[in-house]
């Protein structure tokens, strides 16, 4: 048996994140360092260089500046794309003329000016906050089309009191407010309703980014809700703490956004999801400020009012401050990975791990397609020795163990805690894996899996340059239905694509990203080459719609952590019943009778 783990002890607290940490992205004009029509930082992107090799530019990530020799082959073979012949580049800049003129409410503007809170109605400020990262949004930007309706102005409150003032003025002058945090929504939640006639104000929380205090006795911190995930983590790390909340979007998403969408972090097995982490929420609504009077760890005071806010998706108010649990930074952290002969064995293993309640901080199972994709992203090997070892491993797994390279799949693991316990825990998990035919496959593979998480979002922009559209969506499902759901959804996607005239075989891939006592979270990736299609975005949306129908028919939920936004509103009724929907509506009607928070998400 190969021992490919335990050699290197990784102690990078934020692997794959920013290596140079200064606050440039906190400026009001963060769009200057970020792409206006794609994911992430302007300097970081995948491209095929002059030699035809794929590389990832910039200096921010571990993969930055590296050559990825197998990506082109994988890309061309998987999608039937051609890097040389079929390009679909984005328009270089936004056509400001396509932008609807700002519909300003003069009286509101006057009163706002009097408060001294900064605001802007510049075109690029408005467009930057008019969208999230749904395919149709990014596609429209790349084509230079822009949107039918964008915010008429943007304002940057600096603290809770600023927000109170803005909301009061908004109520007074009947303007529509759409809170904006990190802008990483993938549910159309930031889109402005085209039918909205009032002035739309985008309330950008990015200036409310301070940690107000840390309470080491109770291990909680009071944090302003506009703070971005990676900043929060870095600032806490300085004092030896962390929240442990690491959603895949944490480089750009904000605390307020997490609360508003019921976010889930990679390491929820140790730290919990956002609803488990939050101790106190302060929220500004048109009816006034809502907050609890104490910070008791649990209460029996009727239904938890926090849960009206958690997942409210900006329809009730603005979250301004949150008290959140913090933990000391773990002493020891270790990646790992296990290869399974097939996806079925992998799921059975994860189920057993969940049953024994011994899940590591993170455990994720990638299917074969994603395994192959991960391989395509391997950087050029640095030494002959590594390549030799890699080859030997491959030989051992596929030949000696009889694993079919087109069936096998990989689980990536992340353990945290004190060294002793991590090693013990690790053994327990690998022992369970062995029962399901799993072979330990080394720390490197595990780590690569998690790096992939952060760069995978950049890959969509590469695909879009070559006629490939891609998107991801997620669900949660009881254990006994995981396999059936994965199989049926993939098959449905393939069939729908065929029916709708997609000329090339689509890529469908899934992974189990979270385990729970009673089920799992499943994440799908779906991409296809759209050459020959008149309206690829529409086709894409039809297929995604069908896939969601299939998920629901197979016992999956409408969403595990992305939320509903406008994309999945139509299924809310069947998801939570008429009465359930009525309950939510009546809360909205009481809290915001004039629909000041008029983004029209959720309901």
């Amino acid at each position: 048996m190969f021992v490919c783990y335990g050699v290197l002890v990784m102690l990078h607290p934020n692997i794959g994140l920013l290596l140079n940490g200064f606050n440039e992205h906190l400026l009001p004009t963060r769009q200057e360092i970020m792409k206006w029509n794609g994911w992430g930082y302007s300097d970081s992107k995948f491209l095929f260089n002059k030699k035809g090799q794929a590389e990832f530019t910039g200096k921010r990530y571990r993969l930055s500046g590296m050559i990825l020799p197998s990506l082109q082959d994988w890309f061309e073979n998987t999608f039937g794309a051609s890097v040389k012949q079929h390009k679909s580049p984005a328009t270089p800049s936004l056509n400001a003329g396509a932008l609807p003129p700002a519909n300003l409410n003069e009286a509101f503007l006057q009163d706002l000016t009097a408060t001294g809170i900064p605001f802007s109605h510049e075109a690029d400020d408005r467009v930057f906050r008019a969208h999230g990262h749904c395919l149709h949004e990014i596609f429209a930007l790349r084509e230079g089309r822009g949107f039918q309706r964008v915010p008429d102005m943007v304002t940057w409150p600096n603290c809770h009191n600023d927000v109170v003032k803005i909301v009061e003025l908004a109520c007074k002058h009947n303007v529509c407010v759409i809170p904006y945090g990190g802008g990483t929504s993938v549910t159309g939640a930031l889109e402005c309703p085209p039918e909205e006639m009032r002035c739309i104000v985008s309330l950008d929380t990015s200036q409310m980014n301070r940690i107000l205090w840390i309470d080491e006795k109770n291990l909680v911190a009071r944090i302003e809700a506009g703070i971005i995930g990676q900043d929060l983590e870095r600032l806490l790390n300085e004092g030896g703490y962390c929240t442990g909340h690491e959603p895949d979007s944490m480089e750009f998403s904000s605390l307020g956004g997490w609360v508003a969408t019921r976010a889930s972090g990679m390491k929820k097995n140790v730290y919990g999801n956002i609803e488990d982490l939050v101790v106190h929420i302060k929220v500004v609504t048109p009816r006034g400020v809502m907050e609890k009077s104490c910070q008791g760890p649990r209460m029996s005071t009727g239904p938890d009012v926090h849960h009206f806010i958690l997942g409210s998706e900006g329809t009730l108010g603005v979250v301004t401050e949150v008290t959140m649990k913090i933990r000391p930074i773990p002493e020891y952290r270790k990646y790992g990975s296990v290869v399974f002969p097939n996806f079925e064995a992998g799921v059975a293993c994860l189920r057993e791990v969940a049953k024994q309640r011994c899940a590591p901080a993170s455990i994720r199972l990638m299917d074969n397609e994603q395994f192959q994709f991960g391989h395509a992203l391997k950087p050029q090997v640095s030494s002959i020795f590594t390549s030799f070892v890699e080859g030997l491993k491959k030989f051992y797994i596929t030949k000696f163990k009889g694993f079919d390279p087109h069936q096998l799949c990989v689980a990536t693991l992340l353990f945290e805690g004190d060294r002793e316990r991590v090693l013990q825990h690790e053994k327990q998990v690998y022992d369970i894996a062995a029962k399901f035919g799993g072979l330990a496959a080394g720390e490197d593979n595990g780590q690569r899996g998690y790096i992939l998480t952060f760069v995978i979002a950049y890959l969509r922009d590469l695909g879009l340059d070559y006629y490939v559209v891609a998107e991801s969506f997620e669900t949660s499902v009881p254990w006994d239905r995981v396999l059936d759901l994965c199989r049926n959804v993939k098959e449905r996607i393939i069939r729908e694509c065929k029916e709708r005239g997609v000329q090339f075989q689509p890529l469908t891939s899934c992974r189990v990203t979270q385990t729970y006592d009673a089920g799992a979270c499943v994440y799908f990736y779906f991409a296809f080459n759209y050459r020959g299609l008149a309206d690829p975005v529409h086709t894409y949306e039809q297929v995604e719609h069908a896939a969601r129908d299939e998920i629901l028919a197979n016992g999956g939920s409408l969403s595990h952590h992305h939320g509903v936004g406008k994309l999945r509103k139509e299924w809310m009724k069947e998801s939570i019943s008429d009465v359930g929907l009525g309950m939510l509506r009546s809360v909205k009607e009481y809290v915001d009778p004039d629909n000041i928070f008029g983004n029209r998400n959720l309901l």
């Binding site: 059936d484 098959e491 069939r495 729908e496 029916e499 039809q542 719609h545 028919a553 197979n554 016992g555």
Partner: protein, 671 residues
């Protein structure tokens, strides 16, 4: 918003019924032995290697579903779970197939010999947008497939396996009635050629149902083999499709509803016999001579039939129908999310009606592709002329009927380039056991005339030929049934007003829904179809809100009326019996012999000329209709079931059938 055309099949009405391939032709020109031992390597579901029969059994016995039911039964009965488990294992042992390729090869050899003697041709449909077997092969590879042949003869399932073997397609496992198992050696042979055996009735037996359904579902989920069963439940003795039984269909659909498989494909298959092996056997059976228990020696006696000519067989494989596409927008699969999938539950109303609809749809697809021979037309005419008619007139009328049948979409196998006189005479020759020609007149044979016979015996003999002849006419009923009901409705309705005709039509559909394939709830559609066909053939016109018979339509309508005459009369006789003869203590068992002797009396007295009412099939259907309409009800007294008659209701139904009472009054009287 998913498109409705997504997995849709081609419209069956548009299909081009092209050529058939005679699979016997090759057998006549090459070695049977070579054929039996040739390489057989069919494509399987997702390229799986099928698991062994034993493995299958243990999968069933260890399934969550069965374990759940075993515990449930154990708690209810107080028996230890081990004992119940043992019982389940015995049931499974009795049920399970043991498909062996060597047996299949044995059958391939012997059946070839038998088929070549018995039949002139065995024709399988050839091209239609690419051949059916490529479609079927693809379906088998991608999805669990359920083969649904029509059921007219014992031959059906051997024939099916034989054809699939010939085309190198995966052999099915076949749900067969337990009665076959009585035939010791043959039963085991059938088991080894893929049959599994189910008891005819196991009403309340939870354990049996669990074992049976889990067995079928396990095979389906794992794509062990295509599953074959007969929607009609049993062989149709009358050659008329039987109303579908939905139990097994429910079982094969469940894995789709529960998301255990992506889709299930149903393949309707129509098997049409020019002459059925069991022809006169069926007529006798219907007249009350009980069916001989299946036994090997009985089969050997049946060797006599080997010396006769049974013409040809046509087998039509329809397009695979995707349950997924049928169920779209009709069944909300989310309903299955809230209870663990292994816990058995009664299907919801929505599901139930979807399954029923599908069953009717498939039976209609089977009917649509039944190949009809010229003799079927002739039999229909002869039955309306029991006293016989001139050969030339018969020929003329047959040709006329051919036109009408074709305009109604019949799938006629009329030989091209053959003079019509020759077509008629060769049909008469093939069916000389039923019909005789003397002095240019054609009439039904009246059984053996020699010797002294009692009037009852003579009547019985005559009834045998009438019922045999009717079994041919019945083959074309599906083509004419809707226009024929409309013709009767036009005849019976008080006026030509469309809504009155419709009321009448709808009443008749309700009355006859056990007799003919009329999907409950499709009445409006059926009415429109009937109007369309009669208007198209120029027989009626719709003027404003009236339906008017045209001059040239008179003959068509009178033929169509004649087609249903015996059914109308038969049902009326049954009603009459209930009103006049039935006593309070009439049990369900006594019903059939009692009605039969009542009808015999009427015929002998010269008050009735309808022999078909002697058919136990019609008697059962009529009773079912009366029970369904509430005119008769079942009452359980001690361990006997007696029939309680609402004479007023029965009387009014009788009068409505006879056109003596307007439809609506009848409905009121019933209420």
């Amino acid at each position: 918003m998913a498109s409705t055309t997504l997995y849709s099949q081609r419209d069956p009405m548009l299909k081009k019924r092209d050529d058939f391939e005679d699979i016997l032709e090759e057998r006549r020109n090459s070695s049977d032995l070579k054929y039996a031992v040739r390489c057989y390597a069919p494509v399987l579901y997702k390229g799986l290697t099928p698991c062994k029969a034993n493995m299958l059994k243990s999968m069933v016995l260890q399934s969550d579903h069965l374990r759940y039911v075993i515990n449930q039964v154990s708690q209810e009965s107080g028996e230890a779970p081990d004992i119940i488990h043992e019982e389940a294992s015995v049931i499974l042992e009795e049920m399970a197939h043991r498909l062996k390729i060597s047996t299949v090869r044995f059958f391939a050899f012997t059946l070839t010999k038998a088929f070549k003697t018995l039949f002139q041709h065995i024709c399988v449909n050839e091209e239609e947008y690419g051949s059916w077997y490529i479609n079927l092969q693809q379906a088998i590879q991608e999805h669990p497939v359920v083969l649904l042949p029509s059921h007219r003869s014992y031959m059906d399932f051997l024939l099916m396996s034989y054809i699939l073997y010939t085309y190198d397609l995966a052999l099915p496992v076949i749900a067969a009635g337990m009665d076959f198992m009585g035939m010791k050696f043959i039963g085991e042979m059938l088991r080894m050629s893929g049959a599994f055996f189910i008891r005819r009735s196991f009403g309340g037996d939870k354990l049996y149902w669990a074992v049976f359904s889990e067995y079928v579902k396990t095979m389906l989920r794992n794509g062990f083999a295509p599953i074959e069963f007969f929607l009609e439940g049993t062989r149709s003795r009358t050659c008329k499709s039987l109303t579908p039984k939905i139990g097994l269909l429910n079982i094969v659909m469940e894995p789709f509803f529960k998301g255990e498989v992506f889709d299930v494909h149903l393949v309707p298959i129509s098997i049409s016999y020019e002459r059925i092996l069991e022809e006169s056997l069926y007529a006798r059976e219907l007249l009350g001579v009980p069916k001989p228990k299946e036994s090997t020696s009985g089969l050997l006696k049946a060797r006599r039939i080997l010396s006769e000519n049974y013409g040809s067989i046509h087998v039509y494989f329809g397009q695979p129908v995707s349950i997924r596409s049928l169920a779209q927008d009709k069944v909300n699969r989310c309903k299955y999310n809230l209870v663990p999938r292994h816990i058995p539950r009664k299907p919801t109303k929505e599901t139930q009606s979807f399954v029923t609809d599908t069953a009717y749809r498939i039976v209609r697809l089977q009917e649509d592709s039944m190949v009809l021979k010229p003799w079927v037309l002739m039999a229909s005419i002869l039955l309306q002329n029991l006293e016989g008619l001139e050969l030339s007139l018969l020929t003329e009328q047959t040709l006329w009927l051919r036109g009408l049948a074709q305009s109604c979409g019949a799938f006629l196998d009329w030989p091209d380039h053959t003079p019509s006189a020759k077509v008629v005479s060769s049909s008469l020759a093939l069916h000389r056991g039923l019909v005789c020609v003397s002095g240019g007149r054609v009439s039904l044979v009246l059984g053996e005339p020699q010797g002294l016979v009692t009037p009852e015996e003579a009547l019985f003999n005559r009834a045998v030929s009438v019922l045999s002849c009717a079994s041919y006419r019945n083959q074309i009923l599906h083509v004419f049934i809707r226009p024929a009901i409309l013709a009767v409705a036009i005849h019976n309705a008080a006026s030509s007003k469309k809504d009155e005709v419709f009321n009448c039509f709808s009443f008749l559909c309700k009355m006859f829904s056990d007799e003919f394939i009329l999907c409950p709830g499709d009445t409006v559609q059926d009415f429109e179809e009937a109007c369309y066909l009669l208007v198209k053939s120029g027989s009626v016109q719709t003027l404003q809100q009236n339906i008017v018979v045209t001059d040239r339509g008179q003959s068509t309508l009178s033929f169509l009326n004649g087609l249903l005459e015996s059914f109308l009369q038969g049902y009326q006789v049954v009603c009459q019996y209930f009103c006049e003869e039935a006593c309070d203590s009439l049990t369900e068992k006594q019903y059939i012999p009692a009605v039969r002797s009542f009808a015999v009396k009427l015929i002998l007295a010269g008050n009735l000329r309808c022999y078909e009412v002697l058919s136990s099939d019609m008697q059962k259907n009529a009773l079912a209709a009366l029970l369904r309409l509430g005119a008769v009800s079942k009452v359980k007294v001690a361990d006997q079931v007696t029939l309680k008659v609402n004479k007023l209701a029965v009387n009014s139904l009788e009068d409505t059938l006879g056109g003596r009472l307007p439809t609506q009054k009848a409905v009121l009287a019933r209420l």
